[in-house]
């Protein structure tokens, strides 16, 4: 059962990464694309906890960097941080603890809010790291042509994708919420 679940998540990671670099550029009017891997990482952090989200983020980032010829490890680093941060934030969330199996432990709106916050975090982190690596772009261009379009597109795509992921990841509740709190 665990292996099947891991396989299902691995397939989702590969599909998200490939769609992000192959399909999304055709469907968006800007150079930026929606961050589908990020949406998946946030969904996994909510549904499965930070470890699974971080591992998936690491794999997804590795795929994207490899396919597009970017710095290998850069996207992985950011996605691992997102998986950990969202999962960690939810760790103390009482709503998550009480979530029934199959439902989003925190509700769609908050999951979307986490996605938007994570998208901003990843884009700002990416801009900062690219700057440190000597490949930064002018600040105004970065904000107007990279960060804002990417965050907006990610938010728009997250609206239908998050409920879909909720259904696909339905079989198990978050690992760290499987143990209920003592009465």
């Amino acid at each position: 059962m665990i292996l099947l679940d891991a396989f299902r998540i691995a397939v989702l990671v590969v599909l998200a990464a490939v769609f992000q670099v192959s399909a999304a550029p055709q469907l968006t009017p800007t150079d930026s694309t929606p961050d589908l891997v990020l949406i998946l990482v946030v969904a996994l952090a909510v549904q499965r906890g930070p470890e699974t989200a971080a591992v998936a983020g690491f794999g997804g980032g590795l795929l994207i960097d490899s396919i597009t010829g970017g710095w290998i490890g850069l996207s992985s680093l950011l996605y691992v941080c997102v998986g950990w941060a969202v999962g960690r934030r939810l760790q103390s969330d009482e709503d998550a603890m009480l979530a029934p199996s199959g439902a989003s432990p925190i509700g769609f709106q908050r999951e979307l809010a986490y996605t938007v916050a994570a998208a901003i975090g990843v884009q700002v982190g990416l801009a900062a790291l690219q700057g440190l690596l000597g490949e930064g772009l002018p600040l105004g261009f970065t904000i107007n042509h990279v960060i804002i379009p990417a965050v907006v597109l990610t938010t728009v795509f997250a609206m239908p994708v998050l409920p879909l992921l909720q259904r696909l990841l339905r079989s198990r509740t978050r690992i760290d919420t499987a143990r209920t709190a003592p009465a």
Partner: protein, 291 residues
């Protein structure tokens, strides 16, 4: 407590290992470039995912065409009621026809380029774009041909524009069935170029202010350059320009020329001919006789 102490430790170890692995890969990637371990990871991943990317690209292409047709329909409504009705009547067939017309136009442009005098010294390999970098930091695309088709690192790649084709980049890395192309807008790109109809030559690099534009560097103040002149590739090797690109491939046109007293060079801005937001079909050029 929600989670046990052991679980907390395990979580920290996993996250720590993943962060360490990411940083290690990033360091190796920075130091080794496309060689070494990270180069192997990149080539292996690209080989495995290229067929899937190709399939996904082919599946979503009709959706993109339909989207283009729909937006075209909206414009037609505003401009011409009769055209709108005709397009609506055509329905799905209209999408297909328009997509085929666009494809035909691009093929004709590439064919014109192949038949042009400048391209006579080159063989060419047609390719489709199957993946694109998700942001402006690294401007690369992935094409569906590789070393099995005769593609090699540093091969120049052109894309349709006008009634021919313009330079869009060069092959950066290659696997058996796919290749990564660095666009001329990438920050690591540098192209030695000349002004058509003049003697000025210089190095084309992405503009630091607007990365969708190019700047032509090292053009002396005594050189005559006018707005609107075409910029072509030049046959010269410099320290920054490793690959020797074929000469006379159109790159862009001069959009502004300025010079200051403090600078011994002109400041020349060049707008690329190729539309980098609409890259679907490209040609990889091979010097005739080259293996």
């Amino acid at each position: 407590m929600l989670i046990g102490k052991n679980r907390l430790i395990r979580r920290r170890v996993i996250i720590g290992l993943l962060l360490a692995a990411s940083l290690t890969l990033l360091t190796l990637s920075f130091r080794e470039g496309s060689a070494g371990v990270t180069g192997s990871i990149r080539r292996s991943t690209l080989s495995i995912t290229a067929p899937l990317s190709d399939v996904v690209h082919r599946i979503t292409q009709p959706v993109a065409d339909a989207w283009g047709w729909t937006t075209g329909l909206v414009d037609a409504r505003q401009e011409n009621e009769q055209l709108k009705k005709e397009l609506e009547r055509q329905g799905a067939a209209g999408v297909q026809i328009q997509a085929l017309q666009q494809q035909l136009q691009k093929d004709e442009q590439l064919l014109n380029f192949v038949n042009s005098r400048g391209a006579a010294a080159y063989d060419y390999i047609g390719a489709s774009v199957i993946a694109q970098a998700p942001n402006d930091y690294n401007r690369t695309i992935t094409i569906n041909v590789g070393s099995a088709d005769g593609i090699a690192v540093n091969d120049p790649v052109v894309a349709p524009y006008g009634d021919g084709a313009g330079l869009m980049g060069r092959v950066e890395s290659v696997t058996a069935n796919a290749a990564t192309v660095m666009l001329i807008l990438d920050q690591n790109s540098a192209v030695y170029a000349s002004i058509q109809g003049g003697t000025a030559k210089g190095l084309l690099v992405p503009s630091s202010g607007d990365p969708s534009q190019l700047n032509m560097l090292f053009v002396g103040v005594d050189e005559s350059v006018d707005v609107g002149q075409a910029v072509l590739t030049a046959n010269y090797r410099s320290n920054r320009l490793e690959p020797l690109l074929p000469r006379d491939i159109p790159v862009g046109k001069v959009t502004s020329v300025s010079q200051s007293d403090a600078n011994s060079d002109k400041t020349i801005q060049v707008t690329p001919f190729v539309d980098f937001q609409d890259l679907t079909d490209v040609l990889v050029l091979k010097q005739k006789g080259a293996s």
